[in-house]
Subunit: 257 residues, 2 copies
């Protein structure tokens, strides 16, 4: 049995997860839960897109077998007091910009896994740090579930599919693919032996010049630990987060030496 | 299948857990692991009694089916980064005196449960706050295990059995039962309608007068939430912790209105 946790507002990236789940398991449970614990006090919990009826139609069409869409009260009833904390990897990159975010993710994913005890659970590589964090606590807590990462699905122009893309105006939407283009260029150059710091700096400047309001980070990290990447033959990842209009977009690509 | 986690240095209290486990399940797994994460930097991790060969004999005689006695490296390999935190109940009483103790307990018990996925897991009421904390995170994280509390086993003079009793000199051992005697008296008086604060204060003084070095707390709490008890018809608990020689002893008894 496969579990595919989502926050709804489903798009083709989620459908790719469902498709992979159906290939790997005889039964697929999708979940929709906009988890309040993974949003900071100044973040977009209230604004996060909710499109339940469209989600139901997409899930029906996808052939998943069960949808679990609990309320916040069902997940966190009165008296609820427990959190799962992942040190190190959950406090860098997005964790440094979104305090408590990965504790919220770790807590809800632990609950969803233990509620259903699937054989496998699938997550998109789009949220790469989330995927690494989930692999970490699943191993650490001995949760008996195999974690499967699924490559990011992109629009034709390269923009990673994301529920938050709906926050973009038309003009912002035209600038958005620069994020992917620049980290792809940087990853290719680093794989080719370019110096890391100036390469990432150039990517950052190009992203800002294209219309992004600010850049939270553009970093090169080892793919498994998310420690700082140094030119080597090990697999790496360039990860970035930047603000465009009302949206905070994240993306990442492999460094393939 | 039943799980009985212990830190070894087994005594009749542990054997009572094994006995109950065998009544309730067809197979019983005992674990022995002196969990470094639940000892503070100034606590007795290095001194904690270890008696493996005696433990093995007792477990053999008890008829449990499997012993799991992992090393610290097996439980927390390099790169290990995850902890389970229980807010509220884990930060009061013993949690206030032993910072991080219950996070260590919650983390290792989560691991032991998910490693073996038992139907039930048994814990002594001697560590009453631990039992309440375990019930809390097991419910919160949806760990599919029933938590069973087993009443404290006592020496003839009332002293709660504990691996830490071996720290006591002969003279201290003679003073030790005062802890149980005084909280029992206090619980009876509170159940009978006595004012709570002076009753607990009198117990504290009697414990100190009997030779205890210091008292960490003597408190009356509701049995389920560990919130402060007020005279009522709900079940309560008097809990105490006090230092006698090198030992820190804890005990608790029910308030039965």
């Amino acid at each position: 049995m496969a579990l595919v946790p989502t926050m709804g507002a489903l798009h083709q990236g989620h459908m790719k997860l469902m498709e992979n789940a159906k290939k790997l398991a005889d039964r697929v449970i999708a979940t929709i839960f906009v988890n309040p614990k993974q949003f900071g006090p100044k973040e977009d919990l209230a604004a996060y897109p909710r499109r339940e009826s469209e989600d139901f139609e997409m899930l029906n069409a996808s052939g998943v077998h069960l949808l679990f869409a609990p309320s916040a009260e069902e997940m966190y009833p009165e008296g609820y007091a427990t959190s799962v904390h992942v040190g190190g990897i959950s406090t860098i990159l997005d964790g440094a910009h979104r305090t408590g975010h990965f504790d919220g993710v770790a807590t809800v994913v632990t609950k969803l896994m233990l509620q259903s005890l699937p054989d496998i659970a699938l997550f998109g590589e789009k949220d790469y740090q989330q995927l690494v964090t989930i692999r970490r606590f699943v191993a650490d807590l001995n949760i008996p579930v195999d974690v499967i990462g699924v490559p990011t699905v992109r629009e034709r122009d390269g923009l990673a599919m994301s529920s938050r893309n709906t926050y973009l105006t038309e003009e912002e939407r035209r600038a958005a693919p620069t994020l992917f283009a620049e980290i792809t260029k940087a990853a290719r150059e680093i794989a080719g032996g370019s110096e890391i710091v100036p390469t990432l700096q150039a990517a950052k400047e190009a992203i800002l010049n294209s219309g992004f309001k600010s850049v939270d980070y553009v970093e090169a990290r080892y793919a498994d630990t998310l420690n700082s990447y140094e030119n080597s033959n090990k697999p790496g990842r360039v990860l970035a987060a930047a603000h465009l209009g009302k949206a905070r977009l994240i993306d990442n690509v492999p460094i393939q030496p």
